[in-house]
Subunit: 495 residues, 2 copies
């Protein structure tokens, strides 16, 4: 449908068959006006004339004109004729495509003449925490997704959706769905020694969001946040985004080096299973931390990220359970036990902080998605969560055993797995002068994914070693991975 | 099971039948130690002796002792005997309950000797955006939840869950599930005149989170953010939490009062349907805003919160579609069209901002829950979303009509509904000297929920009136509500 009107050269865009005629006409005219081909003040053909030219009904043309008048593109009336509006500024006439997304340098704030960023906006940096390539041995932080009972989850979800209530469609308090908060408080009390009432539990999307919330609520730009190095990079990112300086927390001969913590407002620790080294913090160390925190007034943020997976002995109770003064904020998540894209976790806080966290959530995402919370609560209360967890513990213990045996048999003296007994991954020390970075590069060439421990250091250095995930891989993948890793490391040793 | 050991008075807590014996014993001993009834250095009975006393197997006692040694509560060996650890500080011995959640004054930051809040932590205030009481006429911001096709949603969800892929369980990029971002870009382009590529769309939990993200990325403490008064209180909360001063944006005779915007870094508007007055911003006004923004370098945040629901004419295209310089950030949500507890919406941004938003999400919730995103994408792509929207548009148009007729018939001269033609609620002006606050109080006594428009003013005043939601109520509820409101208002007029 490309025609000239009688009054002037007007070439309208083709009509797509699916578009209603009146809408097509108003869009085509709007485009002509925006492109400047219909100048301000131009008189349009009469509706009758236009209808005939474009084989439209007159009503269609009238509708399109009325729409454009309502929007301000056209003006005039049936008697005096219809004109392109004179109030259109030059600016509208120049159609520019949005600037391309390409060609921006990664990791740097973009320069813009128009959008001025806040200090936070300039500071915040991408935490590259997603990976779209298929998983392969020994990617860390991955559970065995192929064993997740998706059909069972679907059944629980369908059951919940069939009897969904108006109130469940409507929303909940910022801190989350009360039955889930109760289930979390009960579960953490029984299995982790966490002491809390459901009112102290907030449902968040996971540990990362918990870190970010706590950082925002407790840290001012310029404040110090302390954590162990090597440590969890997502925490470094969250603290730096808050404008904090991230300083190392360290121990010497079992003693906390308090001098390093002098200015700290917040200390972040992973006592159940140090990230990435996998060690558990001893009771004596925990007590020192609590004692220091009581004297200094700094808060402790305990990230209990994967201590559900303990393969020997009962889990050591959480640091939070030893806290008698309300100094410890505790966080953990369901994402690793169930599936990472779930985005549900918890933040357990001292009573003083409840109102602040509630306020921060209320002006942000308002609350976590409610149907998902209800399905998860059902999954926990009906015992599926516990059963899945116990099953995964067995599977992961077996996989860790396979990794340990294979490495001992194939890589003795070259790679030594630390004596971990929990988690989804382990640290391993490199021997014979090998370095983590070159080892990881050589492994990648043989299709094996390992992370040098040094990459988790934001300060200082760590003994050369690798981070190896084992939970997501079947025994034969683990054995093949160790074999290929062996070839890679031996290649380095021969150089 | 309350017994004395032979060596000393040790009264252990009763064992719950469900608790494994070894776990019960270690927990009971830990509790005794923490309460100070087993003092540091105390020698425990031999495992054999203890087993006999408590009718346990010796292995059970050994396990419990080993666990407590691993945790640091006990020390010693089989040969030398087992002792309560000497490194326990006094602090651990005093069990205090966490401070009560009660007795805190609402709305004020709590005082704490220990947790020092950041400036943000002290600033942020609860935005009371949830309501647990059953809905009744004329609560605003509510869709007709009873008409939401929950069974259909469940079917789409079940279908998606049955064929769930590993990658869907794993996660996605911070900006969201690509097919949903594509569906959003397509939908907004076709129905709202928004010009964007899918790469410019971030999936967030809704408008509120979008406001909060933008406020954080663009506003420094002390900056000015401008918006109309009366306006959306969730925006005021988000901007104030960012430390911004919220200043009024106003018009005089169709002209933007630029003097009031001098210091503004960000202008927040609801051009499709002003909140709460319901008017649409004219093209001339939109162009003035864009022109001012281009000159001043301030960003415009367009909240297109419920313009899907337009009952007369086509929706006026979004301000974003007129933007040629990348000044406009656009947000809207699925929560009102589908159901509020869903928590999925979108933020459409100029290319310059993409990387910053991506970074902010990556260190926060990482990404919106993926299964929900996939189900929503299916719901949109399969046409259910469009069908539901069209159906709701008819229903709401009918309900608005009922409200307009009832008010005209019953309350002429006392209450006058503004000429709105979109949204889930409407403003109504009070006549004969009635005031919003007293009218709302009188209405509440008759079981009718209305909000005085004056409550939405953060600055200045507005003509006396009420905000009335109509979408969530059946015609007979609307008529009954108008009747009761009439009785309430007449009662005030007689006073």
């Amino acid at each position: 449908m490309t025609k000239k009107t009688s009054g002037f050269d007007l070439v309208l865009a083709e009509r797509n068959d699916g578009t209603p005629k009146s809408r097509w006409l108003s869009e085509a005219l709007r485009e002509e006006i925006a492109r400047g081909r219909l100048a301000a003040g131009t008189r349009l053909p009469a509706t009758r004339e236009m209808a005939a030219e474009y084989a439209l009904s007159r009503g269609t043309v009238v509708n399109a004109f009325e729409q454009l008048k309502a929007e301000g593109y056209l003006e005039g009336s049936a008697g005096s004729g219809t004109f392109v509006s004179r109030t259109l500024p030059e600016e509208l006439l120049e159609v520019r495509r949005p600037r391309s997304l390409k060609g921006q340098s990664a990791g740097r704030p973009p320069r813009s003449a128009l959008l001025r960023l806040s200090s936070y906006g300039r500071r915040v940096e991408l935490f590259r925490n997603f990976e779209i390539r298929p998983s392969r041995a020994f990617r860390a932080n991955l559970p065995a997704l192929e064993l997740f009972p998706a059909a069972l989850w679907a059944k629980v979800a369908a059951h919940r959706l069939r009897r969904v209530s108006m109130s469940l469609l409507l929303g909940c308090e910022p801190m989350g769905y009360r039955p889930l908060r109760e289930a979390v408080a009960g579960y953490l009390g029984a299995s982790r020694g966490v002491r809390c009432e459901p009112g102290q539990v907030a449902i968040v999307s996971g540990v990362q969001e918990a870190l970010e919330l706590v950082a925002r609520l407790l840290l001012n730009p310029g404040d110090e946040a302390c954590m162990e190095s090597p440590g969890y990079p997502g925490a470094v990112s969250a603290f730096r985004a808050a404008g904090a300086r991230v300083m190392p927390l360290s121990w010497k001969g079992g003693k906390l080096r308090e001098a390093g913590l002098k200015g700290a407002r917040l200390v972040y620790v992973t006592p159940g299973h140090q990230f990435p080294l996998g060690t558990a913090m001893s009771l004596a160390e925990r007590l020192q931390l609590l004692d220091w925190s009581a004297r200094s007034g700094a808060a402790i943020l305990e990230d209990d990220y994967d201590s559900e997976f303990r393969y020997r002995g009962r889990p050591v109770p959480a640091l939070q359970g030893l806290d008698r003064r309300g100094q410890v904020i505790y966080t953990g998540s369901f994402n690793k036990v169930l599936f990472p894209s779930l985005r549900l976790g918890y933040l357990v806080m001292p009573p003083e902080l409840v109102e602040r966290v509630e306020a921060a959530i209320s002006i942000g995402n308002r609350h976590a998605p409610l149907l998902e919370q209800a399905v998860l609560a059902d999954f926990v209360v009906e015992g599926h969560f516990g059963r899945h967890l116990r099953r995964m513990r067995q599977v992961y213990a077996e996989r860790l055993g396979v990794l340990q045996e294979s490495v001992a048999a194939r890589l003795g003296g070259v790679l030594e797995i630390t004596g971990i007994d929990a988690g989804l991954q382990t640290a391993a020390w490199l021997g014979r002068g090998l370095e983590g970075e070159s080892a990881a590069a050589a492994a990648a060439k043989r299709g094996v994914e390992v992370t040098p421990l040094s990459r988790y250091c934001f300060r200082g250095t760590v003994r050369e070693g690798l981070h190896l995930g084992f939970a997501a891989f079947e025994p034969k993948e683990i054995r093949a991975g160790v074999r290929e890793l062996g070839v890679a490391l031996e290649g380095l040793l021969r150089q």
